[in-house]
Symmetry: C2
């Protein structure tokens, strides 16, 4: 088969790779229905995160099980499945606490931008649907694999509750789906920080009640001004830069919560700043596996339509253009179809 490989900054190739196969009895091999490009793929694509030689790419996936190893019990060939970007046995103490993305046997998936994919720890990583869903639901189901699950974790980590005032920092696909997540959790007011008209529109469609275009100190001042002078209950950090992180901390009221899911790059938090900010801070790699059953249901019963974040659909072999479009911010998120 052919799959996606990153060779260096800006150099994405779709080229011959070995077919995946069952390597361990706990593996499954799935035929990809849809995959996509993640905002986090752009870090190495932009040369901001070193890679160690040619690197197969992709960690968001859904599709039909082709084959399972001898020890796999909970999924079988022919079933449609979604899995997390991080594998998990779903039985270790960290998994039992709901932190499957820190499973003691965790591996990060990295070969999903391809027509076929080996998934380790299939029983603990994949969630099957009852029937094979209609193909037009594949994009929304795909989002549960990472981008929606990550936005959901941002809202959950920031303790969004019915009636909350929420700020979302970052208008990438994760930020937009963090808006959707906050709305689902009953937030009363959702302020999206965005200066891109198209993204603002989608944020409003997902439930944003306000849009703030200012950034940095000016952005913080606007939020404080809009929130009784004290800041928001919950702030969802969906970028990962030093600026976005401090913007999030300073938009939060005393005793409020920052949920951060943007993979930090160059972020350093001064202890004294944090101490007097008086916020709760929680984040990390989203424990998508914890949320998958609920999120899949919300998609299948039509409550949410997170697949709207895909504003560019390409055949898988044009994956390089998919990266380019996201890098240049021409696309919010690129869906790839084998």
């Amino acid at each position: 088969m052919r799959g996606t490989v990153l060779y260096g900054p800006g150099d994405v190739r779709f080229e011959d790779r070995e077919d995946p196969r069952i390597e361990k009895p706990t593996d499954a091999v799935i035929r990809i229905a849809a995959t996509c490009v993640c905002g986090s793929d752009l870090w190495p694509y932009r040369g901001l995160q070193p890679i160690d030689g040619p690197t197969p790419m992709g960690h968001e996936y859904c599709g039909v099980v082709e084959e399972v190893g001898s020890a796999v019990r909970s999924v079988k060939p022919g079933q449609f499945v979604v899995g997390s970007f991080a594998t998990s046995d779903n039985t270790c103490p960290n998994c039992l606490h709901g932190y499957q993305s820190s499973c003691v046997h965790r591996e990060f998936m990295t070969r999903a931008q391809a027509p076929m994919l080996r998934v380790p720890l299939a029983d603990g990583t994949l969630v099957p649907t009852k029937d094979v869903p209609p193909d037009d639901l594949a994009p929304s189901l795909l989002t549960t694999s990472d981008v929606l699950g990550t936005g959901w974790f941002a809202a959950d980590a920031a303790n969004v509750k019915p009636g909350s005032t929420v700020v979302v920092v970052g208008d990438g696909a994760v930020g937009l789906l963090a808006v959707l997540s906050a709305k689902q959790m009953g937030a009363e007011r959702i302020i999206a920080m965005s200066r891109h008209e198209k993204r603002q529109r989608l944020a409003r469609e997902f439930g944003a009640t306000d849009v703030v275009t200012e950034r940095g100190d000016e952005g913080v001042a606007r939020i404080v001004d809009m929130t009784n002078g004290i800041g928001a209950d919950s702030v969802l950090e969906c970028v990962g830069t030093p600026e976005s992180m401090m913007q999030a901390v300073h938009c939060t009221r005393k005793g409020g919560c920052v949920g951060y899911v943007g993979v930090p790059h160059g972020v350093e938090l001064k202890g004294e700043d944090l101490f007097f900010a008086h916020v709760h801070l929680h984040g990390g790699p989203a424990p998508v596996r914890r949320y998958l059953p609920e999120l899949i249901d919300l998609v299948l019963n039509g409550t949410i339509n997170p697949g709207k974040v895909f504003d560019l659909v390409l055949p898988l072999d044009q994956v390089a253009e998919g990266y380019r479009a996201m890098d240049e911010r021409r696309a919010i998120k690129t869906l790839l179809r084998p």
Copy 2:
């Protein structure tokens, strides 16, 4: 009157100062029953925190109201009161959220090592007892003003619940009372990190089930080893150095909580470390006012005896020796009696 003034590193003087008086209608003046030296007083005493000229010291206090301003409604002369080290109006949005130590009108108290004290915002800062309590309860009541309230906040911020496994980093008075707090909140296992025999004994008396003498990476390895390989549910950071903070983060299980109350000095948290540590982080200046009514009750009804942290009692005019004894770790905490 005479009061305590810090002139520079190691230079504490008990000298003539103006008598406190009502300056604003919301003030009270109280006659101190007991005051003490705080671990945080040692930062400037050791020259690790600059001071801007001679600085009156002390922020832990209880005593009898002498006089109140014309606007004060909730306390009156003759009543015994305890107040927080941070003043609060107890009506602003931050106060109403339970973060009185970030009251929009907050001032940090700093003249309590004296026989008389002016307390601003008396209605929102002081809590009176029903009767004047017997003098032998004054030490325990005094602890609710800061050191116990701060240990309590560490446990609360770290989400200690019945059955929790808890680690306490720091064996100063705050750390020891964090042990007591975790015990009160129902922790099943409380591991005190301490290498001082006298403090270990008090930690065990307050409820510690285990003592770990290792520090740094070795200490972390011991904790992980003792907790099913995954770390503790709740870790209470009661020091404030870069080493203690990272020790706390790395002792915590994925999804667990770090409550940090040691005022950070030189602490910088790397975003990526925190991200993959997957912990909840909450802390700051303890909102003592929130806890005062409950903690005063626990003292008055004899449930807890936090005053045991005072292992040195001196007349107020020997305050300089009180600082010295704590600086040299000869004393855990010095009680001062006017």
